[in-house]
Subunit: 214 residues, 2 copies
């Protein structure tokens, strides 16, 4: 019975996601669904990316958070449209809340919408938001064993960002183990090794992301 209910919820989510995707395609807006554990660095990645992209592209942000607008406040300085979705305990965003949030944007005058999903490596991967693609962010202090332990996200992601490479010397993170684990789940996914603290690897990420914008 529970399985059937879950299927109904996912079906309704998928229908609305398809609508959202059609709308964004018609408006030529690229929407990126950013998924990670709590504290892997999604907001800091957005800060670094907005510093680089804000003068080149027209950008909007949707911030998914359980209870606060803390992440959104960190981005106010960029003077871009930001919509906060508070899930009030919910463990992921869904396509219905995204669809409502899109009403607040002038889609004719946007190139990119970055969606920062709720900090969770599991549930957000199951819910299509109508995004152009999903981006997996994982940080080195979380350990090199995450792809195999949380396979769905790494299978669904169009790219993987390994953040906090500056902390590798202080942890037992093994990059070769991580790469082997990831390639067992998704052999062809591009991997960017970055540090949002010292800037390492960000140029490659900017270049890859720019190529996705029509």
């Amino acid at each position: 019975m529970e399985i059937k209910i879950m299927k109904n919820i996912l079906d309704r989510n998928q229908n609305k996601a398809d609508e959202v995707r059609n709308l964004l395609t018609s408006k030529k807006v690229v929407m990126v669904n950013i998924i990670s554990s709590p504290g892997a660095g999604k907001t800091t990645l957005l800060e670094r990316t907005l510093e680089e992209f804000n003068s080149k592209y027209r950008i909007g942000v949707i911030e998914g958070d359980i209870a606060t607008d803390r992440d959104a406040r960190r981005l106010h300085k960029f003077n871009i449209p930001i919509v906060v979705i508070n899930t009030e305990g919910g463990c992921h965003l869904d396509s219905h809340s995204i669809s409502k949030a899109l009403d607040s944007f002038d889609l004719d005058n946007l190139d990119i919408i970055f969606v920062e999903n709720v900090g969770n490596l599991i549930c957000p991967s199951e819910f299509d938001l109508g995004e152009t693609f999903k981006l997996a962010v994982v940080s080195t202090p979380e350990g090199d064993d995450k792809p195999g332990k949380y396979p769905l996200l790494f299978r669904e992601a169009m790219a993987v960002l390994l953040n906090k490479t500056d902390l590798i010397p202080y942890t037992n993170f093994n990059l070769e183990n991580f790469k082997r684990d990831l390639s067992g789940i998704n052999a062809k996914v591009p991997l960017f090794e970055i540090s949002c603290t010292n800037g390492d690897g960000l140029k490659e990420w900017f270049k890859w992301m720019s190529a996705k914008i029509s």
Copy 2:
């Protein structure tokens, strides 16, 4: 409608959790439900705790994981009873799977069962497993803003372990901000500042945990 379904699921979970709790109380077994983000250090905490407790208490472990038995394999060296629950995508353990897992233990000959929940700061907090208490583990690289952003766990926890204090010098983690944030959510909860890497603070945790065992 979805809210009613969720209530039914939670009610059924609660009934079984009450059964589990009664059983454990009658057997004088303390069950600790350990909850954290992926990679905050739950398994390493168990390794350090088993090194200290394994000669003093009779211990069992339940390992909740989506898809692998990696965490359980890390504990094999302790030669204690371990049951792995693979949720196959599910984002939390529930009382029904715990109840089944308990059938594999000789409860008359155990003092403690440590339950390592699925790595997730959100959903596990909503499902009572029949545990004696919940333990929140959070690590410094995740940032000092986690209690306010994920309030339910920090409200429900009987104690909070702040792990990876050895990494504070290399991050922008601010201990005073973290403490202020935590005390806004749960003013009286004991906080242990620990490093499972260099051993800092573990004695205080062992002492507190020992006092919980009858």
